[in-house]
Symmetry: C2
Subunit: 337 residues, 2 copies
């Protein structure tokens, strides 16, 4: 094993551990980051029998025997994680999940891991643990802060075989999201998208921008954000040479970008959406099994599945690992592996 | 011909007239409502040759010769409509479109027509004509006002073979839509949906409610509308015996309701969405060809296609009439024809 992909288990009480062990058991080159007891419990939930090799860090993966699951339990995890009831919000679970992400991200930034793939967190468990971040994206952005404390601008991209969407705002109330939008946030999203997303032809991406309001404001009749700053940001991006278009009516732009050949060829490679749900509703509509979340703008590759902890089925061994498999594939693809 | 379906041409400068003449030419029992010159021009655009029978009202349809297109040009239309350039916003076009809807709706309410099917309006043309309504729904609601001036509560439903969505708010900026939402508007939408939408089993509909905020507020972390009034409205509806559920995360509830058997059986018959685009993005994602707009709550049946005037292709004869055909079928279905 060369530099492994680091795969965090996510919330120990959700489906993360069981899908993570399934993926690690069938894909080579994956180091699980989490409590070793939680990994053993998850193997039981998944109905898998595999030896577990607990190591002290990514550099030791070469010593893991073939066929064993490599697990790194970073220092500082709470005790008793494997005894927490499944499907419940628990502050210890939230604390453990955040600690694993922190350790794994630092290892990847130190060059010890090739990329970071993360199983789902539960945001209320994070909050119960006093973690001041609402999700992976915000936490990773903070961990990637420079020596001056400045955080890199990052954006969440959700992608499946048909559609790629980059979000200007994510984990905010819809009211706050509208307040947060401005010329700079839209233009910065366009720049990050241009820099980090390839077009289907291998070149620069053809980017569509979805408006905020119904009918993209219908010429100002239903809201002025398009006129005030979305259209100007698209124009500024075009002036910089980006292949950006819009703003278009939100209710049809995703249909127009959907790429399902031969019957339907997408007009665009990626859509920039102003709000979490404008972007995620169409990506998830046909099923979350193949969806992947990619954080654009970090100094390393990070992907995750596009579903949550699914507390209602956690521990029953029925959770579908397809999206997590897709996240591992997407990470390798972005690394050129 | 018994009582005809009244089909308004929509904006004379959009694709409405050409798709309307295609539908009227292939479906019996349809009376076109619009300028007779515009109908003749649309026949040319569509490459159709049909005699046109201009009549003075729906009661005269029995006198229309077989094979002829029946057209009613209500009094009060501007002159020169057939000379307006295609694909342009024009106040005369907006005024004509509104006048035809008014005349057709009054005829249906007077029992002279079986139902109203409407081709697309252009909202900026309406506005240019000084019409104080932002779309069909608001205009029809006003026309259906009682003698005391009270307007009936109506809601827009968009439906295709896979998904039905009813919207709490429609043609408002997103900011205004959030302000307008409250316990009453959500509960009223649930009551209208329950009363007017059948379940797939023929009984009462199983209704899912989509939240407003990301993750339906994630327990209050991202907005409190779910906690303050959406969940209470769902509970109040359940207390009245409605089969209502939620609020659910907007980004996955439409996927869960999608009915595409045998691979995917919808968990719900219909989804209530808080905003125009939360609801319309998924309905339109797979294509607008089969989508139908149904106005729930009017004292008559009214349907329309779920696309707009498509000024970019108007007059070229390439517009797809499938959604308007679907609207005619949906109107007949609701009438039990």
């Amino acid at each position: 094993m060369t530099r492994p992909l680091l795969l965090t288990l996510g919330d120990p009480c959700g489906i993360g551990p069981e899908i993570a062990v399934r993926v690690a058991a069938s894909e080579g080159g994956v180091l699980l980051v989490g409590d070793v007891g939680v990994v053993r419990r998850a193997l039981g939930h998944a109905g898998l029998q595999r030896p577990v090799a607990s190591i002290d860090g990514p550099r030791q993966v070469a010593a893991v025997p073939p066929g064993a699951l490599a697990v790194w339990s970073p220092p500082g995890l709470p005790d008793g994680l494997a005894e927490l009831p499944m499907g419940r919000i628990d502050a210890r679970a939230g604390a453990a999940a955040a600690r694993c992400i922190e350790a794994a991200a630092r290892a990847v930034m130190a060059g010890e891991g090739a990329a970071l793939v993360t199983a789902p967190l539960h945001k209320e468990a994070l909050s119960a643990a006093g973690i001041g971040f609402t999700g992976h994206t915000e936490l990773l952005q903070s961990l990637a802060a420079g020596p001056d404390g400045g955080v890199p601008p990052v954006r969440m991209m959700l992608a499946n075989d048909e559609l790629k969407v980059v979000l200007v705002t994510i984990h905010l109330s819809l009211r706050q999201a509208i307040e947060r939008l401005d010329f700079e946030s839209v233009l910065q999203t366009l720049r990050i998208t241009h820099a980090q997303v390839r077009g289907r032809d291998g070149g620069a991406p053809r980017i569509a921008v979805a408006g905020l309001n119904p009918h993209a404001g219908e010429g100002g009749l239903f809201g002025d954000e398009e006129v005030r700053f979305i259209a100007p940001a698209v124009q500024a991006a075009r002036d910089e040479g980006l292949d950006a278009h819009g703003p278009f009516a939100p209710d049809t732009v995703f249909m127009r970008a959907r790429h399902a050949p031969p019957a339907h060829r997408g007009e665009f490679d990626v859509v920039v959406a102003m709000t979490h749900d404008h972007g995620l509703i169409p990506v998830k509509y046909l099923g979350v099994e193949q969806g992947v979340n990619v954080t654009l703008g970090l100094p390393f590759v990070r992907t995750s599945p596009d579903h949550g902890t699914a507390f209602d089925i956690a521990g029953r061994g029925v959770a579908d690992p397809a999206s997590l498999h897709a996240a591992v594939r997407a990470a390798r693809d972005r690394l050129g592996l």
